[in-house]
Symmetry: C2
Subunit: 293 residues, 2 copies
C-alpha cells in the first residue's frame, strides 16, 4: 500500500516546502495541513502544498498514512507524546527536527513497539533565514542531505510502518536530497558544528554590529559578500533556535568554546608565523559534493 | 586629456578584473600589464585584460597616464616608494589595497605635492576566495562599493592628475560600483569589521574543523549552505591576508576580541532569556542596498 494520505503538522517554511516538493514530484494523494497559525495553513493551501486544512492535529494524524511533524523541536516533542496514544501500528510518524537525541529518547516506548505507530526521525539539511509558508520552495531540498537517525530498540515497528519509512526515504530522494543515516547522538554533535555553530556565530556578529554601529549607514553600505554571508543567518527567528539551544546545549556550547579559543589564538598571532599555519590548515578544509550555488 | 594609457601592476584576480572591466565598458586605450609571475600577465593578456605585457613595473609606469597598483598591501607600499622618483606630476597612481592608513602615511611627501605625481587611494569592496588572473571577472565590481580615501595634505596635486582621478572614479562607476569617500583611519576600522573579521573568522572556523574532523566525510557531506558560507573564505590565500594582519593589526584585533566576548556571552546564556535579546538585536541588523546574489 503506497502512501496515500499525508498530514503535515506545521506548514511553515519546511512543512510547506515538503508539500510542494511532494506535488512537484508526482504525489497525487491527500495532504492534510495544520498549523498553529491558520494563515500559514491557508498560504500552504494557496500554494497547493496541501489539499485540505485540518481542524486539529489529532484528526489530521488519525486520518493519515504518514504524519510529518514540522516545527521547532519542542513542538515536535509535544506532538510525539500527544499522538502516540491515538495512532495505529500501520501509521508512520516522521519529522524534520534539528535535534535528534531528545526526540529518540522521548519516542522510546511510545513508537516502534508492538501495537504502536512507527517513528522515523528525519532532518533535511535545508533551510533559510526567513520563515513561513510564503517563503517555501519546492527546490529547497535539491542537493541537500536528508539525515535519518533511527532510534535504538525500534525492532517492534510494524511491517506496514517500515514500508512507509522506506517509501518516505524514496520521496526525500525524489526531492533531490541524498539520504544519510546517523546515530542520533552523532547527529546532534555534527549538526552543532555544521548548522548550530554557524547560526550562533551569525547571530552574535549581527547583534554585535547592531550594537557597535547602530545607525552607521556607511558600514551597512560597504559590507560586501563576506559580511552578507557571515550575517545572513542573523535574521533567523528566535522561536526556532531557542529550542535548539535548549535541547543541544552541551554540544553547541562545546563548539562555541572551541571557536572562541581559536579566535583568541589567531588574534594573538596576527603578526607571527602561526598565522600562516592557520591559513594553510584552513585552506585544507573542503566541503564535499555538488551543491546549489 | 582623457586617460589613454594605463599600467596595471599586479595582474591577479583584481588587477585582471579591472582590465577586463575597462575593456567591457569601452576603454580603447593601451593597458600595460605586469606581474611578478609572468604567467599571470600572460593569462591577463589572453583574457584581453591588458594589451601588452610590460618588462618591468618602472617602464610600464613611466609610459602611462594612470598606474594601478594591484597586489598585497606590502607590494603596494614598495611600488609607491619605488615609483615616486620616476613619475611626473601629470601622472596618477591609484591602487586597490585593502588597508589605507599606512598607504596614505607612506605616500605623504612622495605624492600629491608640487612636482610629484598624484595618488588616489582606492579600494573596491570586491574579491573572491580564489586568486589569480584565471579567476578574474569583469562583473566583480557590479553592485559593490569602491572606496576612496583621499590623503590629507594632497592640495599639491596637479590639475592634470586631479582630472585623471575624477576620470578614474567615473570608470569605477561604469564598472557598476558606487564610489564612497572615507577618511583612511575610518576606512581601516570599518574594513576590519566588514571584511577582515569575516575572513579571520572563516579561517579560524575552517582550520578548527580541519583539526577536529580531519577525515570525516560525513561532516563534509552534510554541511549545508550555512557552513558553506561561513567557511568559503577559509580558502583565501595567506599571501594577501598576511599583509592585512600586519598593517591593520590593532583594528582587526579589536574586532576579534569583541566577537570572542560576544560568543562567550551567548554561550553562557544558551538557556536564558538573554538569548532572545541577542536574536532580536541580530534581527535588527540589515545590510544596505541591492547586491549581486
Amino acid at each position: 500500500m503506497p502512501i496515500e494520505r499525508i498530514a503535515i503538522l506545521g506548514t511553515g517554511l519546511i512543512g510547506t516546502s515538503v508539500g510542494m516538493a511532494l506535488r512537484r514530484n508526482g504525489f497525487t494523494g491527500t495532504i492534510l495541513g495544520w498549523d498553529r497559525e491558520v494563515v500559514q495553513a491557508a498560504i500552504a493551501l494557496g500554494r497547493e502544498a496541501i489539499t485540505e486544512i485540518a481542524n486539529d492535529p489529532e484528526t489530521a494524524a488519525e486520518q493519515s498514512d504518514v504524519v510529518l511533524l514540522s516545527g521547532p523541536v519542542f513542538s515536535i516533542l509535544e506532538w510525539l507524546e500527544q499522538l502516540a496514544p491515538i495512532l495505529q501500528p500501520h501509521q508512520l510518524v516522521t519529522d524534520v527536527g534539528s535535534v535528534k537525541r531528545i526526540l529518540c529518547e522521548r519516542a522510546a516506548g511510545l513508537y516502534n513497539q508492538p501495537g504502536k505507530a512507527g517513528f522515523l526521525p528525519g532532518h533535511p539539511m535545508a533551510g533559510r533565514e526567513v520563515s513561513g509558508a510564503a517563503n517555501a520552495d519546492d527546490e529547497i531540498f535539491r542537493g541537500a542531505v536528508w539525515l535519518f537517525t533511527e532510534c535504538a530498540n525500534d525492532s517492534g515497528i510494524s511491517p506496514e510502518a517500515r514500508a512507509k519509512a522506506t517509501e518516505w526515504r524514496a520521496w526525500a530522494q525524489k526531492f533531490g536530497s541524498r539520504t544519510v543515516d546517523l546515530d542520533p547522538v552523532r547527529h546532534d554533535e555534527l549538526c552543532a558544528w555544521v548548522s548550530h555553530l554557524p547560526q550562533f556565530v551569525s547571530t552574535a556578529l549581527s547583534a554585535l554590529l547592531e550594537d557597535t554601529f547602530p545607525h552607521d549607514e556607511e558600514l551597512r553600505a560597504i559590507g560586501g559578500r563576506a559580511l552578507r554571508e557571515m550575517t545572513r543567518l542573523g535574521a533567523s527567528p528566535y522561536s526556532m533556535w531557542r529550542d535548539i539551544a535548549h535541547t543541544n546545549t552541551e554540544a553547541v556550547a562545546a563548539t562555541l568554546l572551541a571557536l572562541e579559543q581559536r579566535l583568541t589564538h589567531l588574534r594573538e598571532h596576527l603578526k607571527t608565523a602561526e598565522l600562516r599555519d592557520e591559513f594553510e590548515q584552513a585552506n585544507r578544509f573542503r566541503l564535499g559534493g555538488p551543491r546549489k550555488p
